[in-house]
C-alpha cells in the first residue's frame, strides 16, 4: 500500500509542478492545490498506514498496543489542510481580482511590475 501511495504522491508533485509552469492563472492555482495535497498525503503516509486499534496507551504500559498508526502526523495534516484551505481561498480571490483588473489570464502579460 505504501508503494502505491508513493507513486500517487510522486504523480501529484509532478502534476502540481507541471501545472504551475503553465501560462494560465487558473492552472497555476490548480498546481498550487495539487502541491499542497501531495505534501499532506506524504505526511499521512509517513505516519504508517496501519489498520489497527486506536493509539491509546493502556494504564499499565508505556506505549500503545502493537498495530497502531502514529497519530501525530494525522494531527499535523489537519493543521496543514486548514492552513492550505485558507491560503488557497485567498489565492483564488487574488487571481480573480487580477483577472478583472488585467483582463486576461495569461501570466506572460503580467508585466506592470517591471516598470519602476
Amino acid at each position: 500500500m505504501e508503494v502505491v501511495l508513493a507513486f500517487v504522491i510522486g504523480g501529484l508533485y509532478a502534476a502540481g509542478l507541471f501545472m504551475m509552469m503553465r501560462r494560465s492563472m487558473v492552472k497555476v492555482i490548480m498546481g498550487l492545490a495539487l502541491l499542497g495535497y501531495a505534501s499532506n498525503l506524504l505526511i499521512f503516509t509517513v505516519g504508517r498506514l496501519t489498520r489497527g486499534s486506536s493509539p491509546l496507551i493502556p494504564a499499565d504500559a508505556a506505549q500503545p498496543a502493537a498495530p497502531f498508526a502514529d497519530p501525530l502526523p494525522q494531527a499535523l495534516i489537519l493543521t496543514a489542510i486548514v492552513i492550505g484551505f485558507g491560503v488557497q481561498a485567498f489565492a483564488l480571490v487574488l487571481f480573480k481580482r487580477t483577472y478583472q483588473s488585467v483582463g486576461t489570464d495569461d501570466l506572460d502579460s503580467i508585466r506592470a511590475t517591471e516598470k519602476s
Binding site: 504551475m20 498550487l32 499542497g36 506524504l42 496543514a80 491560503v87 508585466r111 506592470a112 511590475t113 519602476s116
Partner: protein, 505 residues
C-alpha cells in the same frame, strides 16, 4: 514559568483583536496601533535583558514536557530578533500614521500589521519545526493581504508573484517536515538536534533533508538563485508595508536558516556550510549588480535587500564565533539601515510624487534635513566608518581572513564598493542634481504639503533609525559583546538542548 516569553506573541494578538473591534473608528485604531507597538517594543526589551542576564528562557506551552508539547525558546539571538521586530513595529506603526491612505486604513491595515508582527515573533521564538511552519503561514497570510491591500493593478500583479512562490516554498517546507519526522520521529528542535547528530541516522539522509530546508528557507530569505520574486513584488505596496517587509520577512528566512544550520544539521558541515558560503557570494554579487542597473528608487533598494542577505549568510557559511557574531551584528544593522532607507523613499514620494530617479531631483536644495537622513543609512549600508555597517562588515571580513576564505572576502569588499556606487547614484539623481524640467507639469497633482504634525510622524521614525545607526557605530562595543554572546550560544547547541529538554541530556 517565564511569562515574558509569551508576551511578544500575545501583545500583537491582543492589539489585533482590539483593532478589529474598533473597525469603524479610524482615529481609535491609529492610537491602539501605536500603543500596541510601543508595549510590544518594551516587552521585547524586557525579554532581551532577561535573557542576557539569566540565559536561555524556555516555556512549555500547556505544561506538556519538552519533546511532546510545543516549546517556546528564547536564546540571545531570538531575543535580539524579537527586539528588532518590536523596534521596526514601532517605527513603521508611527510612520503609517501619516503615510497610509484612508481607504487602506479602513480596510484592516492596522490589524493585519499586528498579525504580521505576531507571526514574525512566533517564528523567532518557537522551538518546534511544525510550529515554525504554522508561524510562517500566519506571517505569510498577513503579508499576502498587506501586499494586495488597495488593489492597484501593479500591486495585484506583484502579489501574484509573491503569493505563488511563497506557496511553493511552504509546500516544500511541509514536505521536508514530513520526511524529517519520518527520519527522526520528533519535531522538537532540541530533540532533533540530539537525534540527528547521534549516529543512528544515515548522514546522507540528513544532508539531503538539510538541502530541502535550505531551498525552502532560501526562497523566503531571497538567496541566489531564488530571489527573483523579491524585486518583482516589494516595490508595489505602500512604502510602510515595503519597509516592514524588508525589515522583517526575509530576515525570518535567514533566522530559520541560521537556526537549523547551527542546531540541527551539523553532520556534514564541510559540505553544507561551504555551499552556503558559495550561495552567499553569488547572492551579494547578483543583488548588487541588479541594483546598479535600476532607476526606480524602491526597486533599487529591493535589489539591495538581496545583496545584504548575502552578507548575513556569509557569517553562517564561515561558521566561526566571530563570523556568527558578525552576522548577528549585521542583522541588527541592516534591519535598521534598510528600513530607514525605505522610509526615506516614502518621504521623498510624499514630496515629489514619484519614485522614478530620472524624474526626481533638487531635493538637497529644498529639503536638506531629509537629504542628510538619507545619507546616514546609505553610507552605513555601504560600510563607511564610524557608522554601524562598518563594524558589521569589518567583523565579517576579519572572520573571513581568519578562516582563510579569501574569495568571499574579496567578493564582500567588492560588493561594498558597488553598494556605495549605487547609493551615490540615488544621492546624485534624487538629491543632488537639479529637478528636471519635464517634472513641472507632473508636480501639479502632488499631495499638498502636510500639516507639521503629519510631517513629524513621517520624519520621526527616520530620525530615530538614523540616530540608532550612529549609536550602533560609535558605541559598537556593548552591542558587539551582545552579538558575540549570541554567537557563542549558537555555536553551543548543548546549552540549547539542555535548556529545552532539562535534566535529560
Amino acid at each position: 514559568m517565564n511569562g515574558l516569553l509569551i508576551l511578544p506573541i500575545l501583545i500583537p494578538l491582543m492589539t489585533a483583536i482590539a483593532l478589529v473591534l474598533a473597525w469603524n473608528h479610524r482615529a481609535i485604531q491609529r492610537r491602539i496601533s501605536v500603543a500596541g507597538a510601543l508595549i510590544l517594543f518594551l516587552a521585547a526589551i524586557g525579554l532581551l535583558t532577561s535573557v542576557s542576564s539569566d540565559g536561555i528562557a524556555v516555556v512549555q506551552i500547556g505544561d506538556w514536557p519538552a519533546p511532546f508539547g510545543i516549546t517556546l525558546v528564547a536564546d540571545l539571538f531570538s531575543a535580539v530578533m524579537v527586539t528588532m521586530t518590536g523596534l521596526m513595529g514601532l517605527a513603521v506603526a508611527v510612520y503609517s500614521l501619516s503615510s497610509m491612505d484612508a481607504p487602506r486604513e479602513s480596510f484592516g491595515y492596522y490589524p493585519l500589521f499586528h498579525v504580521l508582527l505576531m507571526g514574525v515573533n512566533g517564528a523567532f521564538l518557537t522551538g518546534d519545526m511544525f510550529n515554525l511552519y504554522v508561524w510562517f503561514e500566519v506571517m505569510l497570510i498577513a503579508s499576502f493581504v498587506l501586499m494586495a491591500l488597495g488593489g492597484e493593478r501593479v500591486q495585484l500583479e506583484g502579489a501574484i508573484k509573491y503569493v505563488t512562490i511563497n506557496l511553493v516554498s511552504s509546500a516544500l517546507f511541509l514536505t521536508a517536515i514530513g520526511i524529517l519526522y519520518s527520519v527522526a520521529g520528533t519535531l522538537n528542535m532540541a530533540d532533533l538536534a540530539q537525534r540527528l547528530n547521534s549516529g543512528d541516522v544515515d548522514p546522507g539522509m540528513v544532508t539531503a533533508l538539510s538541502m530541502m530546508f535550505l531551498i525552502a528557507f532560501g526562497i523566503k530569505a531571497a538567496v541566489f538563485p531564488l530571489f527573483f520574486w523579491l524585486p518583482a513584488s516589494y516595490h508595489t505596496p505602500p512604502v510602510a508595508v515595503t519597509a516592514i517587509f524588508s525589515g522583517l520577512l526575509t530576515k525570518v528566512g535567514v533566522y530559520s536558516l541560521i537556526r537549523v544550520f547551527t542546531l540541527i544539521f551539523l553532520r556534514d558541515v564541510d559540505y553544507t556550510h561551504t555551499l552556503i558560503l558559495v550561495i552567499a557570494g553569488f547572492t551579494m554579487v547578483t543583488g548588487v549588480l541588479g541594483a546598479v542597473a535600476q532607476t526606480g528608487f524602491r526597486r533599487l533598494l529591493s535589489f539591495h535587500i538581496v545583496s545584504q542577505i548575502g552578507y548575513l549568510l556569509m557569517g553562517l557559511g564561515l561558521f566561526t564565533e566571530l563570523a556568527l557574531a558578525g552576522t548577528v551584528f549585521f542583522m541588527v544593522h541592516v534591519i535598521i539601515a534598510k528600513s530607514a532607507l525605505f522610509l526615506v523613499s516614502g518621504a521623498v514620494y510624499q514630496i515629489a510624487g514619484t519614485y522614478d530617479l530620472k524624474k526626481l531631483g533638487g531635493l538637497y536644495k529644498s529639503h536638506v534635513g531629509l537629504s542628510m537622513m538619507f545619507l546616514l543609512p546609505a553610507l552605513s549600508l555601504a560600510g563607511i566608518p564610524p557608522l554601524s555597517g562598518f563594524w558589521a562588515k569589518l567583523t565579517l571580513v576579519r572572520a573571513g581572513l581568519e578562516t582563510e576564505e579569501y574569495a568571499i572576502v574579496a567578493v564582500a569588499l567588492g560588493v561594498s564598493i558597488l553598494t556605495l556606487f549605487s547609493m551615490m547614484k540615488i544621492w546624485a539623481e534624487a538629491f543632488w542634481k537639479d529637478r528636471p524640467e519635464s517634472d513641472e507639469a507632473a508636480s501639479d497633482g502632488l499631495p499638498e504639503l502636510r500639516t507639521s504634525q503629519a510631517w513629524l510622524a513621517l520624519v520621526a521614525p527616520i530620525i530615530a533609525l538614523g540616530a540608532l545607526t550612529i549609536v550602533l557605530g560609535i558605541a559598537a562595543e556593548p552591542f558587539f559583546v551582545l552579538a558575540r554572546d549570541a554567537a557563542r550560544q549558537l555555536l553551543d547547541p548543548a546549552s540549547y538542548i539542555q535548556a529545552v529538554l532539562g535534566g535529560t541530556p
